[in-house]
Symmetry: D2
Subunit: 483 residues, 4 copies
């Protein structure tokens, strides 16, 4: 089959009949027509269509080593700098198509799965580990262009370091039975973005320092597996109108809690289980962080460009270019953009071959990029709010522009260089990015992408090689004092 | 008549038939039943009812010097420290009733008008000035407990310092005719909070450094004056449910653009006009800033207490009290709270009698309070978001709790010390305060309450007495060097 | 004897023959003539002389209840608001005399000792406790106006929370013997400011969370007790010239390590020992923090005024008043100053009588003041550096102004409103405050006055009453949802 | 002659007899033996010696196209990526030899002069311009390895934007006469680092936006030209001992005011004059900023590595590795280091050939690096101070370690992993970097390297290409609304 089209994606998804709950109701009709999901599904379909856009098809696909069909480039396992660059261009195409706003374009999880398959040998010969299942699942997804969600985060019951779940019934998803057909899972996982709106679900061991053996597993199952329920959070779509809600009407990706109600995961879909050591090791030693962070950094750069464009357009619209504090604010975005670009470039230029022959982008520039973006992004949001000031509040709707009051709006809401309608469109975009419930969820998403910034700082500190710098100082101190 | 009840307020308002436009439609039915306004109107009614609550009636009203009836304490012109303290208690009652969330409880504009009346003598004998109209209007409002909105801000067409409007048709409201009946006004004003939902509108000269004589006026007119249109922005009410939208369903105060379509303002309602000098002087030398900032500071303290309560409850709910960075974040709120309280207390203790015999709270502590709160508030919002983390996203609705999925929610969304339902209620409150479009509008409101922080800093610097401190340094430098 | 003069202070100190080590040498001559100490001693003498200055003598002294002589007001145990205000004025006089720069004017430790004496009853009836010794020592110091230093900080060997000293020989001072004459102490204490330059040393239990019984003591001994050695750090005096080093030549207070070389502390000088519980309790429940922080806050306010004066004088000298970022920087100092003043005032207005009848300033405003000043002060330093820019570097000496090159200096170093010499004097003052090793030590001193800011934040969080604010939120959440 | 040795440098310098004033006295003896200069001169000599170190000689020199002798690599005019990389390595060698502390190693001004020579064609055919003089001077310096200082900054009399000097006698250096031999200059320039301690002085047009034609010049003259006086600021050397003052005793680079007392600059040393337009254009369009910022960025990276080493060594010494806030602080330095490295690499990878065939490092990554380092550096200083805490204060001298008190020091100042002597050496290094007057001057130097950060932000904003990003947003807004 190979790289799919948008239409194919929609049809396949609609036929799954996933058990999705929204606002207290089980979704019964077609997912693609549900008000809470249709915008996202249309947007994702347009991404899949890019794979067949004649202008960039060659940059979005490559030939399957298995079928000889063109398949998605996000599945390419890079062995050379050229491969890496190809991957970057593919990611850029998809990111640009949604202005970096869509957090989970298909390349994100495709890259994650690719990294797992490329590192499957870590599992070889280990207890309760099935590297061949990882590889087979990767091939299945790659050849059929299946869509994925995943889930790492355990329920936020108690965030104490010393908390260890001791309830009668599992809260966090656990293995409750092991039988000839597979493992039986019961419990929940939090925050699967697009959960219920994909073909498959990838489930990984809890992102906590302390967890039990019965949570130390990884597997993948079809979204419509019996007993799997997706409970959506409230929607952050402000409304259908692209004028009024330019971003949320298109890009709102619902998040959902995944409930496993005695779900049987067949053996061939188990990557590993009951192996606490491997659960940590697989994430640490595979190229997961390399390729996940690489995709994320590219998308965040595209998003930053979009933000810089919006900021500059605001400056123009209300003519505030003469103020020094405006220069400082805009230059902060520029500094952030150039910095992210430099770190990305460094990660590419310093990529290293791993022991299985795959080329991994250098990890430290990407860690640093993730570290700073989690702080830069909220600051960008603040900058947009500070430039827009009261203009971010006075926001009439599209309907108002199509009513008897239009002449008043045209006169009183005009900008220095823009008609009232254009001005309102620009401000509504700025508002949807920074002040709507969609925009604030995006901020939380970027802020916590790879966990909280304090833990990320500790991790960076402990893993970064510091020894040679300490030795330079020790050498300095050893100098003869009469030099 | 004196202090009114909530019911009286609602009935009077409904009878006005103000011309209010919402989402492209002219509002035709009762304002108090319109989905965009009913929450606010109910809330305001409950505030008016407090004036008749037997427990605190004496702290909410005083006896009219004119009618002998109890009237609202926000109209009291303070002459003693006791008067000031009475005013503070009244403001606290109203602020606590809405947790400091409602920006424009009646005491705000009542205090403003009281300050104008108490300073009306500035206008005495000046060209085109009518101090008697200010006093008469104050008495009218006081005796009838009329509700007010006001508007300072001119359309945000062009924010350059050198911009001077030169269009054929006015954009910013201007005097276009002067006749025997009064002045004719044409043009618009931005951002009247609750505009259209009050009995009267107070209009003041533009808040810009540079503006023309024909914008140098102040007057008050009934909201239903012919030619006055209120064009509302889009609503930030998330929905009717108090569970899902605990704040916006109750406290969303719409903002509106006020359009003056050849509006005749009768002479007896004109405070001054065509007097550029007085337009600046009246705001600078009256007690406007003193009493406006005093009310705002009290409300902001109450709001900070509410925020501290929410933050601590979040800490409790997910059990993160062991983390040092949590202590730092909470202590930031505590520091802000104690600081604001100290500044308020200082403004009271150092209050000064003005030349007309009224006691004004000291201005510098209040300026400083305004200055810091505009930065503290966004930081509080950020702190709540950082504590809540992913829990701010996973927000099912009330309907979900009343559906077949409830048992799952009960199990998987429980908190360390709370049931799932209580936990979700707490997080929805935190979310509505910090991440809903209602919450972000509140942030913008607090941030820009008295204009942008950069101009406020300049103003503080230039007005603050620094000379004595410079002289100390000069004395130091003059010391004999062999001391 | 009562309140002493500067001359008396110097003579008494010189006769002690304390064992003071400076730069590898034991100081042999008169302390008051040693280059590293003479500036400080002269300055302190001038402070004692203020007690006899006819203009303010009544504000600096009160009549001893014992001798009937005038004694220092810093020994007054306040029972009324008037007493507190008297104390504040006395502290202000001394602080103003040294522009808030001298960290340890006599009132600091006098206030500390007064707080101990006023809280001595905590020790009553407790094991190994001698409240009568505290009271007797207080009376001795008060009646003789003895000068004091104290030491809290243990050697910085290992700052891990879990570190517990297990060396053969004590590092941190410990009780190594108990005999009929008293206790024998061996080991060291860090950072006694003015250590060696005072009549007496006050020694308190280690400021660590974890320490052993044998470090749980408090006592006072004469500085010249056998076995007590003061090892001074390097001096931060830049030179003798008041022109070149306006602050360090006058106010450099040396710090020293105190070594106890088998020192016998007689029983009558022991306050308590071998009582771990009391060691913590005495500091927590006495009025120590109240009166220490009160004195410090007053001094810091005076210092802030001096800094504001310097900043404004710099602005003037190089004529940068037109820049918005300058307004922001100066307004930051103003905001800090007003805030500190408000907090101080609040601590006075909300003072509470303790169970022994003494009036303590309210503690939370003072904790908050300490908390913020530790961050404000380094920012002030940065602001001065940013205003002064390259002018902080080009600093010729006084000798250059008295040489053949003077005409060049006069021409090329003139300021917009100042002669070259005045300009250089101003900049040297700004430099000495912010960039000399004296200035940076002052910064570290203010920053860490009451320990590191992170621990202070935890302490504030845990002690601050938050319950009532949480309850308000819980009440809010309990509201009927159909309100 | 070619690349010189340290000894040659010292001898040549000593013979110049420059007129250098220090502390009110004209320096009479050998510069290399003067206490204020000897440390620096020895350090610079050791740098020149590196050019003859057999291990790296090939990386420090290249063959002169003129003489065939090996000459300094800092004079290489790069045409290829390889050339750039060679330059980087040479800069790294010199920077590492002084740990990035020496601001003005010879490569800095050599690079500046190289950039001028490589851009001399800008002057071709322009009024009062002499490109051949630039080239000839470059060749002279290159072939003789002459040392240079330069001066940009005009006296800090009045920093108002509107200030225009109107004194009778020049303050800022000006042309006061033009005759057959050359131009006569009178007036002063500020802040020539190492002024008086180099062979030649490079003088450039004022770094102000507004200045007159008679300040629009550029030239170079020998330091011992008649009428040239160097007036040094006070020294920031703490003392001779490398133990006590590890940095200032070696690296203190004096700054001086240069006075031109009717100095005749011969025509062949004039680059241009009386050409206001060229004065701006030459700096803007030449590769000056590219190569200056490139050198500075490399040095700042080396310095950051040194700082990271010191920070980590402090953490080790007092064993504070367990604290999360320590991880955050160290990770800030790591983030800064990786960011600077990435920006440098990007500037190399994206280098562009200019119209004269020379390869310039890309400018925006370097501007961004300069922009952030001016903020990072003061933060690093603060981090070191915060880690060191009270340990930064208790600093005995080397003499104390060689006295009878040594056993006490050994016992009481030991660190968790270090002897007392090693611990004190580490802390003295940290102190000299961050708290001595040498260290604070370094901070000011890094902070203001390319002017104040506010002007730098404006410059970055205005020069950065933003158009394409704005167009993306405009395209987004043009999307059909029914997509």
């Amino acid at each position: 089959m190979g790289a799919i089209t948008g239409e194919f994606y929609i049809n396949r998804l609609n036929q799954l009949n996933n058990e999705v709950w929204f606002d207290g109701e089980k979704v019964e009709g077609l997912l693609s027509e549900h008000p809470a999901f249709k915008g996202l599904i249309k947007t994702k379909a347009s991404l899949y269509d890019l794979q067949h856009n004649p202008k960039i098809k060659d940059e979005m696909t490559f030939i399957s080593p298995k079928s000889g069909e063109p398949i998605g480039l996000s599945f390419l396992q890079p062995k050379t700098k050229e491969d890496l660059v190809k991957r970057r261009k593919m990611i850029e195409h998809w990111a640009r198509h949604t202005y970096g706003i869509l957090g989970r374009s298909p390349d994100y999880l495709n890259s994650v799965l690719m990294s797992f398959a490329s590192s499957a040998e870590i599992l070889k010969g280990q207890e309760n580990c099935f590297p061949e299942n990882v590889e087979a699942f990767f091939e299945l997804v790659r050849e059929n262009d299946l869509s994925l969600t995943h889930t790492f985060i355990t329920p936020q019951v108690n965030r104490s370091q010393n908390y260890f779940e001791r309830t009668n019934e599992p809260i966090s998803a656990k293995i409750i039975e092991e039988n000839e057909h597979g493992l039986v899972i019961k419990g929940a996982r939090l925050l699967a973005t697009q959960g219920g709106l994909t073909d498959e679900v990838l489930v990984f061991g809890g992102g906590k320092a302390v967890f039990a053996e019965d949570e130390a597993f990884a597997f993948a199952i079809p979204s419509n597996t019996k007993g799997v329920k997706f409970i959506c959070r409230d929607t952050f779509i402000g409304g259908d109108s692209h004028f009024d809600h330019p971003l949320s009407s298109r890009y709102e990706e619902i998040d959902s809690i995944i409930v496993f109600d005695n779900v049987l995961v067949p053996w061939e879909r188990i990557f590993f289980y009951n192996n606490f050591e491997i659960a940590g090791k697989f994430l640490m030693e595979s190229s997961f962080h390399h390729f996940a962070k690489y995709q994320v950094t590219i998308r965040q750069i595209v998003k930053t460009e979009f933000i810089l464009g919006i900021a500059e357009l605001l400056v123009d619209t209300i003519n505030v270019r003469e103020y020094q504090h405006i220069h400082e604010k805009l230059s902060e975005i520029i500094v952030g953009l150039e910095t992210m670009k430099a770190l990305l470039e460094k990660s590419e230029n310093n990529a290293v071959l791993d022991k299985w022959g795959y080329l991994r982008p250098a990890i430290f520039p990407l860690k640093v990029a993730g570290n700073i973006f989690s702080k830069l992004y909220p600051r960008y949001i603040e900058i947009i709010q500070l430039i827009g000031a009261s203009g971010m509040i006075t926001l009439p709707t599209k309907k108002a522009f199509h009513s008897d009051i239009r002449a008043d709006l045209d006169q009183y809401l005009q900008g220095a260089t823009k008609t009232a309608e254009d001005r309102v469109k620009i401000f509504r975009l700025a508002w949807d990015l920074t002040m709507s419930s969609f925009g604030t969820r995006q901020m939380q998403y970027e802020r916590f992408f790879f966990g909280d910034s304090i833990r990320a700082a500790s991790e960076l500190y402990f893993t970064y090689p510091k020894k040679e710098y300490v030795e330079v100082v020790i050498d300095f101190l050893k100098q003869k004092e009469d030099l």
